[in-house]
């Protein structure tokens, strides 16, 4: 009994000693020599593939640091694992802001995760920059959440594009939809509906799945029995893979539309090609596995940066689109930091982030202009359609603008 009381005191003392309180500086996360950025991404679980965006960004920051950093300051990037669970993302965000004292959060991944931390970050006046989620709300609701800004093309517009494409290419489409049953998937579905307009009834079947389930195979079997001729896969991580595997297992070959975020080459190449061939998606970044970019300077830059500054390097990384996506946002981040000036404050970085006019991002499609204004917070809104054939993505058509109306 006495030893337990002793244990209590010892632990209390140890915790107190370990608790070296950080003194809040004028602008947290910014010193004369360093800018501290933070992020929360899935490094484990069903969405771990997406976590590579943080690894890619980290490598890019190291590359920039080796070249003198941003206006004399080096970027320190701390990213934590949340396993795609919003409550863990919250704990990470609190820790990053209050213990690590980061300057801003950057490129946090996951619609639900970002929604979960948004209120806290805005209340604390911490910038939530270039969110790795296309949920429309991150660009639209800036009056309520002025510290938040998105990055990738809004999902609702992506879904709308698919809807319009279907209408333009089919008289009597019969569409089935598999969607992740949360704000992310539903945003895409709502967009699809909008794009179909009066013909929204062409959606003959839709089935949602929860992002912590183990398998979407049963859902695919179910959708097959609707006899639809087209299938939209609005999924993420391992679930898009399982969807394709499922298609093969039930021998169903509809025209597949798969949303960009879940259509990385590294995933598509791992599924039965019979099911994947002909799938249509959009693209706005340079997919390092797509033959069209094989000799591209931006992709070569990516590969050389990864070779030199990457962590946990494996040979398949050089074809990993998520790493490139991370570098693309990191490029914009560095751009923004430069614009924010030597007198770097949270206000100045938000001002810079809402006055972007960036061209020549080596990791995005050529001719894409990353543009924002204080009342238009969708940095990337230009995409191309692409088709999967011969184990690779082939962009077709022109660069289209999908701005939210």
């Amino acid at each position: 009994m006495r030893t337990h009381v002793l244990l209590v005191c010892v632990i209390g003392a140890a915790v107190a000693v370990a608790a070296a309180g950080a003194r809040p500086s004028a602008t947290p996360g910014v010193s004369g020599s360093e800018i501290h950025l933070g992020s929360s991404v899935p490094l484990s679980g069903e969405a771990a593939a997406g976590g590579s965006v943080a690894r890619g960004a980290d490598a890019y920051f190291k590359y920039v640091n080796a070249r003198g950093g941003v206006l004399g300051r080096k970027i320190k990037f701390t990213y934590l694992d949340d396993g795609y669970d919003p409550s863990r993302a919250v704990n990470n965000a609190i820790r990053l802001v209050q213990q690590e004292q980061v300057f801003a959060l950057f490129n946090t991944l996951g619609t639900n995760n970002n929604l979960a931390i948004r209120k806290f970050l805005n209340q604390q006046g911490v910038p939530q920059l270039f969110v790795a989620s296309g949920a429309t709300t991150f660009g639209r609701d800036y009056t309520a959440y002025p510290w938040t800004i998105g990055y990738i093309p809004p999902y609702s517009e992506e879904g709308k594009l698919y809807g319009k494409y279907i209408l333009a290419h089919s008289k009597k489409p019969k569409i089935a939809v598999l969607y992740q049953n949360d704000d992310y998937g539903r945003d895409l579905l709502a967009g699809l509906r909008k794009g179909l307009g009066k013909k929204a009834g062409s959606i003959v079947a839709k089935v949602g799945y929860d992002p912590t389930s183990s398998d979407v195979q049963p859902q695919i079997a179910q959708l097959k029995s609707s006899k639809a001729t087209m299938l939209c896969i609005f999924a993420f991580g391992k679930f898009s893979l399982q969807a394709f595997n499922g298609l093969n297992r039930v021998a169903w070959h509809p025209q597949v539309f798969v949303n960009d975020v879940s259509a990385a080459s590294s995933l598509m190449i791992a599924v039965p090609q019979k099911a994947a061939n002909g799938s249509i998606s959009i693209t706005f970044g340079k997919d390092p596995a797509a033959p069209i970019w094989a000799k591209d300077k931006g992709v070569k830059l990516f590969q050389s940066i990864w070779r030199k500054y990457g962590s946990d390097i494996r040979s398949i990384d050089y074809k990993d689109g998520y790493l490139v996506a991370g570098m693309a946002s990191a490029y914009t981040m560095v751009d923004t930091l430069r614009k924010a000036g030597k007198n770097l404050t949270r206000q100045s970085v938000m001002r810079a982030a809402t006055h972007l006019s960036e061209r020549g991002n080596p990791f995005l499609l050529p001719n894409i202009v990353v543009r924002t204004t204080p009342s238009f917070r969708f940095p990337v809104t230009q995409v191309r359609l692409q088709r999967w054939r011969g184990r690779a993505w082939h962009p077709f058509g022109k660069l289209v603008s999908i701005k939210p109306g």
Binding site: K206, L241, V250
Partner: protein, 299 residues
């Protein structure tokens, strides 16, 4: 929004239900093998199976094909199971059953953590031993992968059945489980039979893991839900009955999958609670399961 019923889809669902059931049956079989010898539920059975599957994954990454890695993994798992029994179970062989249960819990935790540390936490695709194409039978498209899984279970059952019935070792194992004292008198090394039981269980569990991984993707938490289904199957069939585990697993797989598909309220979300419900129903009204004879409480 549920699409209507078609016979061809029903046939496909039956096959996939039997395939899932085969996985549950295999893991349940492993649970029963340990229960028969050690009288304890091994909470680490799922993690042991996942660990074995990760070993298979590693071997395949180093160039082996699935079927080349398969026997290697079975052998490693067998040795691992024996080692686990010798190192952490043997010291507490005479201890209360609950101690053993908590130790297996600790083992589950240990293995789970180890998998994260060694292989990382992401879910990854696992190329199984069967092609993912289908054969058409009377309008229904039956997946070869499912047939393969069911076939492997059938083979496993046959091999184990022959082993237990017709080999001296199998007989010794059964004797040691049924009546340890008398078996000792006849010269059976009961303690080693326990270890053998654990080795076999680990081997069978590895089979379950390698069969389910292509379907669900391989990750450290892959078998957590499967373990619950396996518990349900074992309770259904009777915790001390190998036959019960197999039959229970198949019945459970079919029931849960069909309920999930055709009863809208259950869908895929409530499959786990249904399994729990089944466990409760059987524990209260028929603790021996369909084929077993388990001790009842007496105060």
């Amino acid at each position: 929004m549920l699409a209507s019923f078609t016979w061809s889809e029903f046939a496909e669902q039956i096959v996939s239900g039997l395939a899932d059931g085969s996985v549950y049956a295999s893991l349940a079989l492993a649970l029963v093998l340990i229960y028969r010898s050690t009288r304890a539920i091994n909470f680490a059975q799922g993690e042991m199976a996942t660990f074995s599957t990760f070993i298979a994954w590693s071997l395949m990454n180093h160039g082996l094909s699935f079927w080349e890695a398969f026997p290697v993994v079975l052998a490693i798992s067998f040795v691992g199971g024996v080692a686990v029994e010798r190192v952490i179970i043997r010291p507490v062989e005479q201890a209360p059953v609950l101690t053993i249960v908590i130790i297996t819990l600790g083992l589950a935790l240990l293995l789970n953590g180890l998998m994260y540390v060694i292989w990382g936490g992401g879910d990854r695709p696992f190329k199984g031993g069967f092609s993912s194409s289908t054969v058409e039978v009377a309008g229904a498209h039956i997946s070869i992968q499912y047939i393969g899984i069911i076939g492997v279970l059938a083979l496993l059952v046959v091999v184990l059945g022959l082993f237990f019935r017709y080999t001296k070792l199998g007989l010794a194992l059964r004797a040691a489980a049924l009546n340890p004292d008398s078996s000792r008198l006849v010269g059976v090394r009961v303690s080693w039979m326990l270890a053998l039981g654990w080795g076999l269980a680990a081997l069978v569990g590895a089979v379950a893991g390698m069969m389910v991984a292509p379907l669900q993707f391989l990750g450290p938490n892959m078998m957590q839900a499967v373990l619950l289904y396996a518990f349900a199957a074992a309770v259904l069939g009777g915790l001390d009955s190998p036959v019960g585990a197999v039959v229970g697993g198949l019945i459970l797989g079919l029931t849960i999958d069909l309920l999930g598909r055709y009863v809208g309220y259950i869908g895929s979300t409530l499959k786990l609670p249904v399994a729990l419900l089944l466990i409760l129903v059987f524990l209260f009204f028929r603790p021996g399961g369909l084929f077993g004879s388990v001790a009842t409480r007496r105060v």
